[in-house]
Subunit: 166 residues, 6 copies
Amino acid sequence: MSGLSHIDEKGRAVMVDVSGKEETVREARARGEIRMSREAVSALLKGNVPKGDVLSAARIAGIMAVKRTPDLIPLCHTLPIGQVQIDLKPSMEEGSITAFCGVKLTGRTGAEMEALTGVSVALLTIYDMCKAIDKAMEITGICLLEKTGGKSGHYVRREYEDKDTM
Amino acid sequence: MSGLSHIDEKGRAVMVDVSGKEETVREARARGEIRMSREAVSALLKGNVPKGDVLSAARIAGIMAVKRTPDLIPLCHTLPIGQVQIDLKPSMEEGSITAFCGVKLTGRTGAEMEALTGVSVALLTIYDMCKAIDKAMEITGICLLEKTGGKSGHYVRREYEDKDTM
Amino acid sequence: MSGLSHIDEKGRAVMVDVSGKEETVREARARGEIRMSREAVSALLKGNVPKGDVLSAARIAGIMAVKRTPDLIPLCHTLPIGQVQIDLKPSMEEGSITAFCGVKLTGRTGAEMEALTGVSVALLTIYDMCKAIDKAMEITGICLLEKTGGKSGHYVRREYEDKDTM
Amino acid sequence: MSGLSHIDEKGRAVMVDVSGKEETVREARARGEIRMSREAVSALLKGNVPKGDVLSAARIAGIMAVKRTPDLIPLCHTLPIGQVQIDLKPSMEEGSITAFCGVKLTGRTGAEMEALTGVSVALLTIYDMCKAIDKAMEITGICLLEKTGGKSGHYVRREYEDKDTM
Amino acid sequence: MSGLSHIDEKGRAVMVDVSGKEETVREARARGEIRMSREAVSALLKGNVPKGDVLSAARIAGIMAVKRTPDLIPLCHTLPIGQVQIDLKPSMEEGSITAFCGVKLTGRTGAEMEALTGVSVALLTIYDMCKAIDKAMEITGICLLEKTGGKSGHYVRREYEDKDTM
Amino acid sequence: MSGLSHIDEKGRAVMVDVSGKEETVREARARGEIRMSREAVSALLKGNVPKGDVLSAARIAGIMAVKRTPDLIPLCHTLPIGQVQIDLKPSMEEGSITAFCGVKLTGRTGAEMEALTGVSVALLTIYDMCKAIDKAMEITGICLLEKTGGKSGHYVRREYEDKDTM
């Protein structure tokens, strides 16, 4: 046994059987950040003043990506997403934007990959809008913060607890 | 002027005009990594032995994501992708898999976002396949390594030069 | 409170939580029309005679669009569509084609946006096929005719009741 | 001959041959509006104040829909979109939001359907966000304002000229 | 009555109503094969030795296509796919690769089209990778092997029973 | 060297470089058939009489699938499709529908996979609409008939020459 749920006994990728699992409420929360020059954060915040399109675009892109997770990640199940929330926190001091994505659903498997995909695409969207100013940006620290529901129980990541709140 | 190319003078998101630009050969190379327990790297490599489906699935997912970049990133142009290469380097010592994505095309705008999207989705696919073993994985260090073609000229990132080669 | 269900207390777009809602049968019916020259209606009906591809193409495009609603409308939930019916009524006298779309599903939220999207894409498809003849066409009068199921109860639009029946 | 460019001599739908056409710069501009109660316009504008997510979401959805036009409209060609701009004008007096979409590209066929699709999806997105307040909204007056490039020459619609400017 | 479930009494395509059906576990298994020169099978198997990307790519493409069936087949319902398994059996003697696809789900309608679509796209992917060697390949014998669940009961195809096992 | 163009020297799948190739006019024509009971062909043709939705739906689905080929086949390039034509020939005597798909484009690589994908999805769509009548249908004989343009020159398949004409 490989321990990898998506690999069968012959080493082949499979989409694992969830058809017999019960539908329960499941939630996942992920985070990640993009590091950029203060000049870029400042341009983004100034561009943001009148209409907010920069952060709005990233939020919308993240929400839409959550729904398209099974189109992107080969072995992810199509899930009836119940709620998506994306939060973006710019920090001038640290030269970064932190993205949070919370996903909630009633289904047969978890919302973990959906939350991580939402964070990734929101950050890529910010990258796209700031790349004319700063080519050295870095997307980093993408991880699961919390997960509830399902047989694997409640998971909470300690590392970011004090620093990040959504 | 905000300095952000995708925001017009009123702060609204726009897809910028590239219709007058010349078609030239453009290349971009990006990298990123996923950190996981050695137990997870080991399971992934063992699962890999007979058929290689774990890393293959991530490579295929990354290549397909490159082509879908304009569907994910709201203001990205649809580009005639000419070549995509995804390379994945597992390291037992560091407890990580590093992903590289190289994209080449003849078009009116660059391949930067495509290479970054390919890296992100390849890493998310590895996450998905290893998450039953390790919930504390982190996707990190996603950045542009090199970019050629277009009016902004040749960009090379110094930071990863010694460490990473595709 | 803004009264807008998709905007949270900070003015941010969110996909609202439906995970706790009960699954019930929900139906929605929408309509819309495209106004064109009689010459264009006539060409469309003549083109229609042998194989019916003009109106068939619009019907198929509308049905497929219903299923892709959550890919198009950022905050729409992915719903398990149970039934879709598209009806197209050409009128030589009025110089118009009226489109109706009925959607039925068992789910946690309504079918309203799906029916409106089906109507819109069916009409855009007719526009596409007739645009060589008439550039002054107008798509107009897209609205909800009826909606049942869900906590907001039964809605019927009075305005088109005598004129339109699907 | 049916006069319909997408229907062949046997009445079958075909995607017409543009492979021999020259690549030229083409532009199209379309408009449309959504009529709603003043209460709904007011809620939308208030919701808009802090972050602008309502109109931003509609703009982003419209831009993304422009790129997906060939996925929605069966006989549309996949075009290398060069520029997209969506403009939304709320009017408290008239109880409406007017949407404009301008598309520019260098390609073998026009940008007309792309601009109309961008308008339609931007308006549907506004509908979705306001439907909790007003179920009697109507999407109306979707039409082409102007089109340049291609063998059919320059088209300008007279009707909306005084009223609408993008 | 036409006997065709997707055609209404007026000959129009409809997506049939499944909203009142009960959710039950449903399974389908399909097969198909691609015939090619032994030279091509041999190249594919040699290419396969180090990393297995040829057959892995086909497996991943087939699994992803299963999830996208309702995007491709106009009147197919969107189903909550529970499990997908793709098996590929190369035969040097017969000069062929046989593909099997098994799909399992808990839903209101069957998994038949999903399994057939998975087989078709897996075989097209193999075709794509071998077409530089052999242009005379043929994809053939795509059919349903078995189907359970739903009111139409248990179906087993006799023809391939001895020859094929997944 | 494996001889497989999509596999690099390490056995990894890559999307091959076409960015340096010249844009030329390329055409491909593919065919395939679905075998069914005469009862099913008859129902399909009767259902076809008033509005033609059965064969129209298959034609539209095939045309749309041609445009989505790079979304389905992992290593296919996104091509600017110039023309698509789908032809469907029912035969009561043989109990079959034969599908032809012709694709023409000006691009850097061929239209072969697009034509084969169009045939496959058109046939799957017919299967879907007839499956209530006949569960023993078989999709078979999918192959390339002709290919022009590109460095590999003109390919014509002899086998079906007398039998099939589009």
